[in-house]
């Protein structure tokens, strides 16, 4: 238990170090960008008629550091602000803090990607087990083929295809926008059902395009486990089929576990194509927009969020893994 705590503290500590390292990298990258966005912004403000002091203050608010200060000092300020979760202010949404923008975009992405991820994982893994066990039957083969096909279709093609099928050919579902703008947002039934029906296509697109990957990975993992001696032993000992399938699934899912928890981390990058096609105001769209408008504070804020999420999910994965696999415990 004591070892466990020491390990936990150490992992969190090194996680924070990693986040700071990435933040520093982003800081210097932004400063080294061709045309130095910070300086460009400063010059632009001056040209808009601000006094140097005003312009300086404005830039400081936006980026968290002042271009005229020595780089070392700027860097220290930037990091200090970060430690207060202050990512500066957005350029394109003037005067709005980056953290506020990110926090309001995050739920859209999280609901979209999380639902899609869970659905595709559960269905893909189940289908993978069946595809492996019945791999010499037509049913198993067709499952595998379905996986390979869906896996091969790029996300944006899948999105456009679904959008065409269900909004144009059979207009069953709404297209674009997160909800019907004629409805007042709030905790009322029409709004909730509008939210729901607008989410169906993006979620399905995500789920369908990641299903194949889960299926194929699970299938090959199950086939590997099927060749293990203990599976033969469990057959020779006359264990029930359900028990044996449980043994197989438990052992086969371990390698997917890491992939799954990492996907949860990457979820914070949003799903650029899907959010773009369906005009969903999530993190992916935000990232795209920040690049479009050269909104550097927003961009580095969004990247930092992805970094933190991935590093955190990595730590959590490590710890959960040592719970699900007794061989890792120390």
């Amino acid at each position: 238990m004591k070892d466990f705590l020491i390990r936990l503290v150490w992992r969190i500590f090194s996680g924070i170090l990693m986040v700071l390292a990435v933040a520093s990298l982003t800081f210097f990258l932004v400063r080294m960008m061709p045309g130095d966005p910070v300086n460009a912004q400063y010059n632009q403000l001056i040209m808009q008629g601000m006094t140097p002091v005003q312009a300086e203050n404005q830039v400081k608010v936006m980026y968290g550091f002042i271009p005229k200060e020595p780089v070392g000092q700027q860097f220290v300020n930037y990091i200090l602000n970060l430690l207060h979760f202050d990512f500066g202010q957005s350029i394109s949404y003037e005067g709005v803090s980056v953290s506020h923008i990110i926090v309001s975009a995050a739920p859209w992405t999280l609901v979209l990607v999380f639902t899609g991820l869970i659905a595709s994982f559960l269905i893909g893994v189940l289908a993978g087990v069946i595809a492996a066990i019945k791999r010499s039957s037509p049913f198993g083969t067709s499952l595998t083929v379905s996986g390979s096909l869906l896996h091969g279709i790029p996300q944006f093609v899948m999105g456009l295809l679904l959008a065409y099928l269900f909004t144009t050919l059979w207009p069953l579902l709404p297209f674009g926008a997160p909800y019907d703008s004629s409805i007042d947002p709030g905790f009322n039934w029409p709004f909730i059902s509008s939210l729901f029906s607008h989410a169906v296509l993006p979620v399905f697109t995500y789920a369908l395009s990641s299903y194949g990957g889960w299926l194929l990975t699970m299938k090959s993992s199950v086939i590997t486990v099927l060749g293990d001696d203990f599976i033969l032993a469990s057959e020779i000992r006359g264990l029930k089929a359900s028990t044996r399938v449980g043994y197989i699934a438990h052992n086969a899912i371990l390698p997917l576990f890491t992939l799954f928890t990492l996907s949860i981390g990457f979820m914070f990058g949003g799903s650029v194509f899907i959010e773009n096609i369906f005009d969903y105001p999530g993190l992916g769209n935000l990232l795209l927009k920040s690049i479009d408008t050269r909104d550097y504070p927003l961009m580095s804020g969004a990247f930092l969020l992805i970094t933190i999420a991935v590093i955190l999910s990595n730590i959590i994965t490590d710890f959960l893994y040592s719970i699900v696999d007794p061989r890792i415990r120390r």
Partner: protein, 341 residues
């Protein structure tokens, strides 16, 4: 009626009278590999008399494991049982039962410790949990009693029962795992037990004590045991009957004492001569000359042992000898019985 033929009649009657726990006939197993069909077991008849220990010995690769897996109808891909029948207790044919009926027999009526017993446990579950899984699969009502019996067996096998039950496979040594495998084969009170080189990972002393315990349990419960081993000493010590396996066929069988005292097949003689005797001179142990048969050997019409045989004649090249009686229950597959090298 002559004397000889009445003696023969007696033999037949005696064989019929003794109940067979397992009576396998005409077993053929083929592995389909990219290099060709490997007929790993050919036309084998084998009987396991109730309440006795039968030893099976033969070169590595001669098909011993394949044969006993075939008796369980558990030959693994790319292997296939081409023909044969395995009659249990003179009643049903294991190879014709439904999957569910076979499942109920495996583990419950027939315990099996297979050669890879060191990796026979689910790495993600504790030994104790896996005993419970086994019990539940075979509808054992009193799981507490099952665990108690498992502990008793583990203790008799020289293990710290509580520790083993709480362990995962990776926390046990190779020899411990083998003994856990033996416990799994016995814990449901199977009356037929197969042991495929189940003591190879043990040191001499542990091996002797495990074998001693198997002998004790066999006496207590009147178990029918088939024991595969490379160690002719172990077989001589434990088994009443011996089956000598060569290249997928039985070349000699009979009461262990008869066969070892009066070996007839040149392979059996070679096998006995190849044992270094601890007390004797190590140089007196003679290795068998020549290579093990490969799959080309099987295609030739003559005796499979021809290439290595010290007493071969041209006749041996034309036909394969059948297993024939030369004594009460002593059978040999050789045209040159009685000729010594």
């Amino acid at each position: 009626m002559t004397n000889a033929s009445s003696a023969n009649m007696e033999n037949v009657i005696e064989e019929k009278n003794q109940d067979m726990a397992i009576s396998a006939r005409n077993i053929n197993v083929v592995y389909s590999t990219p290099t060709g069909q490997i007929p790993a077991v050919r036309n084998v008849d084998i009987d396991l008399p109730k309440g006795s220990i039968t030893g099976i010995i033969g070169e590595s690769g001669s098909g011993k494991s394949t044969l006993i897996m075939a008796i369980m109808n558990a030959v693994t891909k790319p292997g296939k049982i081409e023909s044969g029948s395995v009659i249990l207790d003179g009643k049903e044919d294991m190879l014709k039962l439904s999957t569910e009926q076979q499942r109920k027999i495996r583990g419950k009526k027939i315990g099996f410790v297979f050669q890879a017993a060191q990796n026979s446990l689910n790495p993600l579950r504790r030994v104790g949990q896996q005993i419970l899984d086994l019990g539940r699969s075979h509808d054992v009502k009193d799981l507490r009693a099952l665990i108690k019996y498992a502990k008793e067996l583990l203790m008799r096998l020289g293990l710290d029962a509580d520790r083993v039950l709480a362990s995962y496979q990776h926390e046990l040594s190779g020899g411990m795992r083998q003994r856990v495998g033996i416990m799994f084969a016995l814990v449901l009170n199977a009356d037929i037990v197969f042991l495929d080189e189940s003591t190879t990972a043990l040191d001499m002393l542990s091996q002797a004590s495990v074998l001693e315990i198997i002998r004790e349990l066999q006496k207590e419960k009147k178990l029918t045991i088939a024991l595969v081993s490379h160690d002719i000493g172990v077989i001589a010590d434990l088994s009443e009957r011996i089956e000598i396996f060569y290249a997928g066929e039985i070349v000699e069988e009979g009461k262990t004492d008869d066969v070892l005292a009066n070996p007839q097949h040149p392979y059996t003689r070679g096998l006995i001569r190849a044992i270094p005797k601890i007390s004797g001179d190590i140089d007196s142990a003679e290795p068998l000359k020549g290579a093990s048969p490969d799959y080309k050997t099987y295609q030739q019409p003559g005796c499979l042992f021809y290439d290595r045989c010290p007493i071969r004649t041209d006749e041996c090249l034309k036909k394969r000898p059948d297993l024939t009686h030369i004594g009460k229950s002593h059978k040999v597959a050789c045209f040159r019985v009685g000729v010594h090298d």
